[in-house]
Assembly symmetry: C2
Homo-oligomer: 188 residues x 2
């Protein structure tokens, strides 16, 4: 799957999360809704970027009757946690041995670097081999700057990434990883 | 104009910015592009929130053939400046004496409060009476919590808001106001 955020449900390939009946985007959205309801963080998915070319009135409602998908230049999710700006994306691959970097547009990679440079936290949530990994932007940059490979080996993700716990609420507790990595005293 | 982000160009009422031939959204987008190019901040407008209900293939391209506008629950712009999370919206009114609070959805107001509570900066850029004002989230909250009025008088905006300078680049230098308000030493 190239870019989940650009696809409507109908066009998504089925990826089975152990029959949980949700896709990765749903799981992250549910987690964000939970974090917000607990007043722990303010994190949203950005709307799918489109270019609207035709709008018509149907009765009193404006309906978009022609629009095109745009390539995103940023990542899908951003927000605020413990006073820090977060910016991340969710990616998945059926490839078992490596994560193809074609999943990450060049503009998205440049965006990760900018966010870190300006004091934010940027990362990917990668679903691969039945596991959810948090892979920090610093590790992504390290890999890409020091390699000519077009994919990140699974061994690199296993070594440098952090498995994200699946819970009932939140579905994917990725903020726990950020607590460990960025706030020394651990979870609050 | 109720919600600029929800309108396509064709449906926007013409508001004349002294014949500069740009609307408020364009001016902010140009400013953000400039800030990014100068590596001063990383700020983007979020895409217009829509619900896609029909997608068809035209030749090899996926085209959205039916979609609906959604009411936004957050603000249009967010990003990162000097390590701080920013979240804001642009509003305009032709009303000369007051800014109608119907311009600000309840969810957007709640969002402003959340952002401030979690350590971010939130504000509105208001175009009114030929001027561009920065009105900080703290002042918006103060007004709304202490008043039963359904609009903010222009005198309140003049007193508590900060006029934003129009320049060639950036078009609207709103970060200058943030420097003054949040970083004591002034511009960097």
């Amino acid at each position: 799957m190239f870019y989940p955020g650009n696809k409507t449900k109908e066009y998504k390939k089925n990826i089975n999360y152990a029959n949980r009946g949700m896709d990765l985007e749903d799981m992250i959205n549910q987690s964000n809704t939970y974090y917000l309801s607990e007043n722990r963080a303010v994190i949203y998915k950005k709307p799918t970027p489109i270019t609207i070319s035709e709008v018509r009135y149907q009765k009193t409602e404006r309906v978009i009757t022609k629009a095109y998908f745009r390539t995103p230049s940023t990542l899908d999710y951003n927000g605020l946690y413990r006073g820090i700006y977060l910016d991340f994306d969710a990616k998945e691959t059926k490839n078992r041995t490596s994560f193809p970097l074609s999943n990450l547009h060049h503009h998205q990679y440049e965006h990760i670097k900018k966010v870190i440079e300006h004091g934010g936290i940027s990362f990917l949530i990668i679903y691969m081999n039945g596991l959810f990994f948090y892979l920090d932007g610093h590790d992504i940059i390290d890999f890409i700057e020091n390699s000519t490979r077009k994919s990140i080996p699974y061994s690199f993700i296993e070594t440098n990434g952090h498995p994200i716990k699946q819970k009932i609420r939140p579905r994917l507790d990725y903020l726990e990883i950020i607590d460990t990595l960025y706030f020394k005293e651990g979870s609050h």
